[in-house]
Subunit: 232 residues, 2 copies
DNA sequence: CGCAAAGTTGATCATAGTCAAGTTCTGTGG
DNA sequence: CCACAGAACTTGACTATGATCAACTTTGCG
C-alpha cells in the first residue's frame, strides 16, 4: 500500500517532524481503520472540500497530490499547504461539534483518498485514543509551520523566504536524483507557498541558476547545492 | 473564581469561537482538574516558557495577561497571541512525547496560573477525554486565526490589518464602557499583532481619531464606531 | 521633579509587486 | 507529424506601500 512508502529525504529530527495519523497503531488496527473508510478516486482538478463548509469528513490522501488553499477577498489564491500521501485533512471533523473547514482542497493530479464520515471517525477515535492524539500532534505541527511562515513573512526578504520554502519542500516532497534533489513545482505554486509573486520567484530562481545552485525546468527544480541557498 | 467570569463582548457565534479547555466538564470535574494543578503567582515581566524548550508543562491563565511571542533572527519580537484569563498555553505538553514550545510566554502584568506537569495532565486527559478534545478544538481555532492573519498579511493593506486586529481584540479583551469599547493596548503591541510598524499604527490611529471613529490615549484605545473601521 | 516609556510627525527610500510584452515549452487534435 | 493553443516562464520598466530614521512632544510614575 502506497501509504507505507516514504520518499522524503532523511534529515535530523525527521521522525518527530511529520507526525502521521496512523502512527502507533498496530498493523491490524491500521487495517481496521483503513477498511472502515470509503475510498475515493478522483481525477485531477476535483474540488474535495470547500472553505467554510461544515467539517463533516476526514480525508487521508493515499496517492496523488492535493492543494489546500484559501481565496482572498480580491480573488487571489493563497496556498496554505501541499498535501502529500500519508497526510490527513479536514481535521475539524474529529470534534463532537464539527467546526468549519479552514481552506479549500483540490486534487492537483489523480488522487486516491480514504474518507471517513464524522460519525465513523468519532467512533474510531473513541476506540483508539491514539488517533486523537496524533491529530493533535499534526495540528500542533501545522501551527509551528504557520508561525514559521508568519515570522518569515514579517522578518525575511523574498529571497530568504524562497530559499527556506525550497529547502522545506525538498525535504517533504523532493525526489532524490543522482545529481541533486528534484522538486516538481511551478514558479507560481512555489511563490504561493513562499508568499512571493511568481515574477519574483522566477527572477530569484534564474539568479540561483546562474550561480549554479540549482537548475530550472518547466514545472521542476533540481536542487544541486541546498546548503548554498541558506547563506543567512 | 475568576476563571468563570467572562468580560468579552458578546457577538454572534461567540460560543464556538473561543473554545475553553474545561468546557463540557461538570463543576465537580472542573474542581478536581484545577485542584490537581500547582498555582503560580507571578509578578509582571516574568518569563514563563521559552520557545524551543521541551513542552513539559501545561498552563491555564487564571488572572492577569500573558504575551506569547517569538524572536526573529534579527532580534525583533513578533507577537503571536495575547493570552487572556481562561486560555491555556503549552499545549504540546499533552502529547505522549512532548514537542517543543513554539513561542515564548511572558507575564505582562501580575498573573495567577494553574500549572500541570506533563505526567499529571496526561493522567487527567486520559481520565477526561473531553480535555484532549477541547485542546484539539483550541488548536484548530489557532490555526484558523493564524491563517486569517497570513491571508491578511498577504492580501490586505496595513490599514485593513489594523482595523481587523482592533475589532478582534475588542471582542476578545475589550471592556465595554458607556461610550464605546475600551482596549488596553499600546501602539507597539497593536502593531505587533497587526503586523504593522508602530509608526504606521500611530498614523492610522490618529487618522481614525480625526474621523471620530475612536479615541486614543496613552496605552488605551476607545472604540466608538467599530462598524466604521470595516469599510472594505 | 526628572526620567523613561509612549507617542507623533515628516522626510526618505528600499523592497518587491504590478504590468506589459515578449519567449519557450508541451500536449492535443486534425 | 505538424500546427497551435495555452500554460509556464522571462525580462524590463515603473511605482506604491509602508518601513526606517530622526527629532521631536507628551504623559505618567516613583
Amino acid at each position: 500500500m502506497a501509504i507505507t512508502t516514504d520518499r522524503r529525504i532523511a534529515h535530523p529530527g525527521d521522525l518527530s517532524r511529520h507526525p502521521r495519523f496512523l502512527s502507533g497503531l498496530k498493523a491490524e488496527q491500521k487495517r481496521l481503520v483503513l477498511q472502515s473508510a470509503e475510498v475515493w478516486k478522483l481525477p485531477r482538478n476535483s474540488a474535495i472540500i470547500h472553505a467554510g463548509d461544515l467539517a463533516t469528513k476526514l480525508f487521508l490522501l493515499n496517492t496523488g497530490r492535493v492543494k489546500y488553499y484559501r481565496i482572498t477577498k480580491k480573488g487571489d489564491e493563497v496556498l496554505l499547504w501541499w498535501i502529500t500521501p500519508g497526510e490527513i485533512f479536514g481535521i475539524g471533523s474529529l470534534l463532537a461539534t464539527p467546526v468549519r473547514y479552514i481552506g479549500t482542497a483540490e486534487s492537483v493530479e489523480g488522487c486516491e483518498l480514504f474518507v471517513w464520515s464524522h460519525k465513523k471517525i468519532r467512533q474510531l477515535a473513541a476506540a483508539y485514543p491514539r488517533l486523537a492524539e496524533n491529530a493533535l500532534h499534526i495540528v500542533l505541527h501545522y501551527i509551528s509551520e504557520y508561525s514559521d511562515r508568519l515570522i518569515g513573512l514579517i522578518s525575511e526578504t523574498a529571497e530568504q523566504r524562497l530559499a527556506r520554502t525550497i529547502i522545506r519542500l525538498g525535504r517533504r516532497m523532493g525526489h532524490v536524483q543522482s545529481d541533486g534533489v528534484e522538486l516538481a513545482i511551478t514558479n507560481e505554486s512555489l511563490g504561493g507557498l513562499a508568499d512571493v509573486s511568481p515574477f519574483t520567484a522566477s527572477r530569484q530562481l534564474k539568479q540561483w541558476e546562474r550561480e549554479g545552485i540549482l537548475q530550472k525546468d518547466r514545472g521542476k527544480i533540481l536542487i544541486v547545492s541546498p546548503e548554498r541557498l541558506l547563506v543567512d
